[in-house]
């Protein structure tokens, strides 16, 4: 029983952390409050559901199709909408409104295609083993998430990509002058964040099912994780994500699960008010 709760907590924490990293990539590069990200999450789940459950493709193929579509849509959002608005040098408020509009449009297209009712993935007999009373599926999902997190850590800590993204965030003009092709890096950021959200969205659809409303709460949790952990550092997103994951599970275990949402948002408000830079504020030299 305790083991199950522990695994739930780690899975929840990993989901939030991974999504937070994907969102932070976009947010740190462009400063856009990218709410359409939540719609991408829902979209990936439905695409996966379509190909895995309805068209009977294998798990891996369905996942790959879902990743492809999500990253293409993610890139399209940037190319068609965000960059067009950026070129008109509109403020971030206006672009946020555009993102909300995209969110509404994507979610309602999903409703048009797949309907409003919740869908479950039923043929999920993938792995028929049990470990200490925990099903093989749960364990492999857990392992997948941890692997993704480690991969992201390595990618962000060791790679040159994120250093360049930071330089773009700090001073776009200067980065451009240094010969960095900003457009290409932006493209990369949106594709990677699309892939990240696609993986989690598909696996979650596989694990717990999907409905049109799943995206927004998950997005909000990811953003809360970034605020708790501190914007600008990957450890922040991970610490924030696991804090939320464990908090969620502990609250479910000890107090009534219906008050979980309330307690998380109260914590968010407290952080926003008293510790807006989060637990791990980014160390930056003042110019």
């Amino acid at each position: 029983m305790v083991l199950q709760y522990l695994i739930n907590a780690i899975i929840n924490g990993s989901i939030i952390s991974i999504l937070a990293i994907g969102f932070a990539l976009v947010y740190n590069t462009t400063r856009i409050f990218h709410i359409a990200y939540a719609a991408l999450y829902t979209l990936s789940g439905y695409v996966f559901y379509q190909f895995y459950e309805l068209n009977n493709f294998s798990f891996l193929v369905a996942l790959l199709i879902s990743l492809a579509i999500t990253s293409i849509v993610s890139l399209a959002i940037d190319l068609v909408v965000y960059r067009t608005l950026n070129k008109k040098s509109l403020g971030l408020h206006s672009i946020m409104i555009a993102s909300i509009a995209l969110f509404i449009i994507i979610i309602n297209i999903i409703v048009l295609i797949w309907g409003n009712s919740p869908r479950l993935v039923l043929n999920e007999q993938l792995l028929n083993f049990n470990l200490f009373g925990v099903s093989g599926n749960r364990i492999s999902i857990l392992a997948t998430y941890l692997l993704i997190l480690i991969a992201l850590m390595i990618f962000i800590k060791k790679g040159k990509f994120v250093t360049i993204i930071r330089s773009i965030r700090d001073n776009q003009t200067l980065a451009g002058l240094m010969g960095i092709n900003i457009g290409n890096y932006r493209t990369g950021v949106f594709i990677i964040s699309g892939i990240i959200v696609g993986i989690v969205g598909s696996i979650q659809a596989f694990d717990v099912g999907i409905n049109p409303d799943v995206g927004l709460p998950v997005f909000i949790y990811a953003f809360i994780a970034i605020i708790i952990g501190g914007i600008g550092r990957i450890e922040g997103a991970i610490i924030g994500g696991y804090t939320l994951g464990f908090l969620q599970t502990i609250a479910e275990y000890f107090i009534n699960s219906q008050w979980v949402v309330l307690s998380i948002f109260v914590i968010l408000l407290l952080f926003l008010i008293y510790l807006p830079k989060g637990l791990l504020p980014e160390k930056r030299r003042e110019l």
Partner: protein
């Protein structure tokens, strides 16, 4: 037919009240709030309390709803107005989810997901209850016109000029010695208090409220209604809010099947919003606050 038109007009007027009040916060003070439906909801539940439990007539009820909304708005605004941009949006979003969670889960007081039914119609000057659509429409219209008049007057008052300065350039307003923090708090309080009028009318008109009318989607719709008019003037907001209510009826009129009418309606709103950002984005918000 007449009843149908009156019904739509009643909803449109209520929406105009919600949007006009929110307009002050979102457009004038430049603070995008995704928590407007929370105040709408609090007001509606307080209305139920006033009219159902205490049997208060309309004017005391309205005042109590405004007072409660205003006090809550003050408590929320005190710590959060210093937040800029996304952080303020996030704080209002958190408030929205907190209120929804309380309305939904505190079953013994709010009735939980089943809500509260049997809210009595407004009582006014000895008229026992205003329940017929036409009577209600008249009351609704009078209240809406009073509100529009107040907000119109406010625009051209000294306070309105200060707000305009805040919208255009906060720094120079600070330089003239005004406390912009206090101004922002006052805007938040006024905006939330007048949303209470919409709550009162909605609760007494429907005579039934449940949390699903006050969720995050409602907050987004109120935001859209404010922005659709794409004008700083109040008449833009009135048109935007009325359009929000009329659009589903237009879709029904052109015989789009009921099953897909709701998503089509929202897709149209989303596309309109994109166009507004594209064509009018520069005048939607002042750039300095981002």
């Amino acid at each position: 037919m007449v009843n149908y038109l009156l019904n739509i007009s009643n909803f449109a007027l209520i929406y105009i009240i919600l949007a006009t009040s929110s307009h002050l916060l979102i457009r004038v003070s430049n603070q995008i709030s995704l928590g407007q439906a929370a105040f709408f909801g609090i007001g509606a539940y307080i209305t139920a309390l006033c009219t159902q439990v205490f049997h208060l007539p309309i004017i005391p009820s309205l005042l109590i709803v405004m007072l409660v909304n205003g006090v809550i708005a003050y408590l929320i605004a005190m710590p959060t107005v210093k937040l800029v941009g996304d952080y303020f949006v996030m704080a209002t979003l958190a408030f929205q989810f907190i209120v929804f969670s309380i309305l939904y889960n505190w079953t013994s007081v709010t009735g939980g997901s089943e809500g509260i039914s049997g809210i009595p119609s407004p009582k006014l000057f000895g008229i026992d209850s205003i329940s017929a659509n036409l009577d209600f429409f008249i009351l609704n219209l009078v209240l809406t016109l009073i509100l529009l008049f107040l907000f119109y007057k406010l625009q051209y008052s000294m306070y309105g000029k200060v707000l305009k300065a805040l919208h255009i350039n906060e720094l120079s307003l600070l330089a003239t010695g005004r406390d912009t923090r206090k101004i922002r708090i006052s805007v938040f309080v006024i905006s939330s208090a007048f949303i209470g009028w919409g709550s009162y009318l909605y609760a007494t008109y429907m005579s039934y409220i449940d949390p699903s009318s006050f969720n995050i989607h409602e907050s987004i719709f109120i935001l859209i209604a404010v922005l659709l008019g794409s004008s700083e003037k109040i008449r833009g907001v009135v048109i935007g809010a009325a359009f929000m209510i009329l659009l589903p009826e237009i879709l029904r009129f052109v015989q789009i099947p009921d099953t897909i009418a709701a998503p089509i309606n929202q897709i149209i709103l989303g596309i309109l919003l994109l166009f507004i950002v594209y064509f009018r984005g520069n005048s939607l918000f002042s750039n300095q606050s981002t």
